[in-house]
Amino acid sequence: MLVADPPLAAEYRDLRVRLADATVQEKVAELQKISLAVRRSVVEMIATAKLGHIGGDFSVTDILVTCFAGVLNLDPTRPLREDRDRFVLSKGHCAASLYSTLAYCGFFPRSELATFMAPLSALNGHPNRVKVPGVETNSGPLGHGFPVATGAALAAKLDGASWRTVVVLGDGEMQEGSNWEAAMTASHYELANLTAIVDRNRLQQGARTEDTKSLEPFGDKWRSFGWELREVDGHDHAALLQALEPSTTGKPVAIVAHTIKGKGVSFMEDRVEWHHKVPSPEQVRAALEELR
């Protein structure tokens, strides 16, 4: 298993202390800086590995950074502390942005990112909890993370514990029936300590979600399943911070985060082929230029 990088972990703790007293503008500025660094390293990881899911990595980056750097109660040097908040990336194919975020938050050295998907690397193409600190459950096959997060939230509720659980889902992933099974379980058990964020980029591997198997009226579906619904721009850190505030209704909270697949690199934005296309050397240079 990878272990925390102490200087990075200290840097992360300092950042959290700083953000606790910062204005919203100051917080957003910090989070934007980290998101940009995460996106740059994702480009490099995928170019080196010649594999990856860059479009979804970029749509979910601001959500991941907001959660890890701005909201969740975590300690990179004690990643399994019992009272930690739980974060589950159900759309596990976007492992590159998760790994990059974890590295920037001190869970392991940034140098490890260069091994992404290399033989025997801890950084599998999909997250593995046994190998990577900060990963709570192995994901990759879709429709798995939501039930697991529901179980974690249920455990906290049974214990009267104050830690929270956040799960990030892909919108295409919501075509899996197991997610709606979990949505019913979470509302039945009134898991106000559970937040589900949907990365609503409107594209899935082969086509637009609405042309594949339509999800709309998406917000109504969540409400009708007994969830408190919040809709935000998933690239607006301030809006995400606010949406990640605790439930006000006693119901679990669903955040539909409207995002753009490939966000941050103009020639990738909202284009289905960048689901898992690998950039050429020229495209890597152009992407890194845009992400300065």
Binding site: P147, G151, T165, T185, Y189
Partner: protein
Amino acid sequence: MSIVTDATTYDCRQAFADELIRLAEADERIVAVCNDSVGSSNLVGFRERFPHRLINVGIAEQDLVGVGAGLANGGKIPFVSAAAPFLTGRALEQIKADAAYSNTHVVLCGQSPGMAYGELGPTHHSIEDLSWMRAVADLPVVVPADPEQTRAAVRWAAANPGPSYLRIPRFKVPAVTPPDAPFGPGIANTLTDGDDVTVIAVGTLVSRALAAAERLRAEGIGVRVINMPFVDPLDVDVVLAAARETRGIVTAEEATVSGGLGAAVASLVVAESPVRMRILGVPGVFAPTGSAEFLLEHFGLTTDGIVAAARELLGHGLHS
């Protein structure tokens, strides 16, 4: 070790339920998770004693196993219980990814396995579960043969920090486990000694194997009966000793022959110590309708069937 079987039969489901409650009294991390199967998972008593620790996710098996994995992540020890065909079939990928590959302390309890739901037809027969569960890495597969072993399996699974699959028999069965028999991964119970032929059995077939051994002893044939509660990991030493010291091995299981106990034993002996084998089970077909007992007879999963297979291995088949 002596044979302890007698004519009395005992309910393994009750043993499962009683032991789970007993453990839960002592360890509040233990929770039960089921899919609208409070009755059929024999959790009524658990719910009465611990109403808040009985999680019912409704008719949703994928959610069932995922929620179990999440409860384990949150520090609980979930006993995830459902009818064996649906638990292992519908949630196979969750068992692989969320329980085994994620190495979570989830105890998967397959209720009413094998032909227990005989009349309900092949959709409800759980004959593939041993093959499916064996195929998943890092997932011990446990088939208790009697109430004593069922209690041991529940205790072991609660204490073992990883995932496991327990196949809880529905039938009442005779007691076959000697007092103080060791229980754990890779540990079999040798119930009778004999140098002519070995019978390795699991679950409901163990008492039948013992009865077959008695019949064959009367004919002067010495039978070594081995109860192998851990189908995975096998007791390698006991199997290889049987392969070397007896003239053949019969395996018997209430499951398909494609990938279960017999296949596990065969793939071991063929590599290390080849020996003639007969693998008794369901031979790659969907069963007809009928009671469990009828179906076991239909497929030769009986004392007579084991006797015939042993004789055949020894070359006595034409003379009996």
